[in-house]
Symmetry: C2
Subunit: 160 residues, 2 copies
């Protein structure tokens, strides 16, 4: 049987070139399609993700957004500042905990949700996949991400 241990290194260098490369390419392809679909809203794809969680939760601290999107403050702070400059969110120091900053959509930001309503459907149609395929792929990717996020760095050096 063909397993991880019976394939020659040379083949692996190619396979490898393909698995995560495919992931990389698919992500970038998605970005391209979103860039196009979001152009009229004046949002980038990561900004759109941030607005999605804010539309769903109403208001969140920066940390809460970061947990949901798995992004740290180094990425979020400037991103949220741009959303604030665009007039879509407002940021306020939390009164209960002065370390925390609460982010919430402005009226304009909330209105944007309506304009964004049909974006997902258009994207889904562009993938050419049906709901079951999308769901299946999503589950595999989530499992993969969880697994990769929990890899102990040391294990990368002792290949079993």
């Amino acid at each position: 049987m063909e397993t991880l241990d019976t394939v020659p290194d040379e083949d692996f260098l190619r396979l490898d070139h393909q698995i995560c490369f495919s992931l990389h390419a698919a992500t970038r392809a998605f970005n391209g399609v979103y860039r196009e679909a979001l152009k009229e809203l004046g949002l980038t794809y990561p900004q759109y993700l941030a607005m999605l969680v804010l539309w769903e939760h109403g208001e969140l601290p920066v940390k809460g957004i970061g947990e949901r999107l798995r992004l740290d403050s180094g990425t979020l702070s400037p991103l949220l500042k741009r959303l604030e400059a665009a007039g879509y969110v407002e940021r306020r120091r939390s009164p209960e905990d002065e370390r925390s900053v609460t982010v919430r959509p402005t009226a304009e930001g909330a209105a944007l949700k309506e304009k964004a309503r049909d974006v997902p459907r258009r994207i889904a149609a562009a993938t050419g996949l049906d709901l079951a395929d999308i769901r299946d792929l999503r589950e595999r990717l989530d499992a993969l991400a969880v697994r990769l996020d929990s890899v102990d760095p040391d294990d990368l050096y002792v290949c079993r």
Copy 2:
């Protein structure tokens, strides 16, 4: 039956949040694992991809690398300059076509291939997937990327 047209918008806003978000998250998780695995080689993941195609082809014009990695000169030029500064590749204007720049691994760059030999296997082990799963996932992602890359921007505005 449940299809793209029978699911309410609200559900879609969540599903959407999940499919491409999952892809995004998986890509970043992979990047993290590669970052760790490539640290000792002094390469970033995109630099590693560039070295992979150069190891395979010996030498290529910038354009050739770009076609294989689907990256344009705006991304590759600085990346290759950094690889040159690191001593891993050399760039030379092609004599036959002075517009073209030929990139090839230096001796040091070629030697790096040996040090990189077991990276793919370690990454594959970290995914926890077997060969068949990897292959299947890769095929789906490739098909998805091809489909997304060929989307006509206008189709994004008329949902079917």
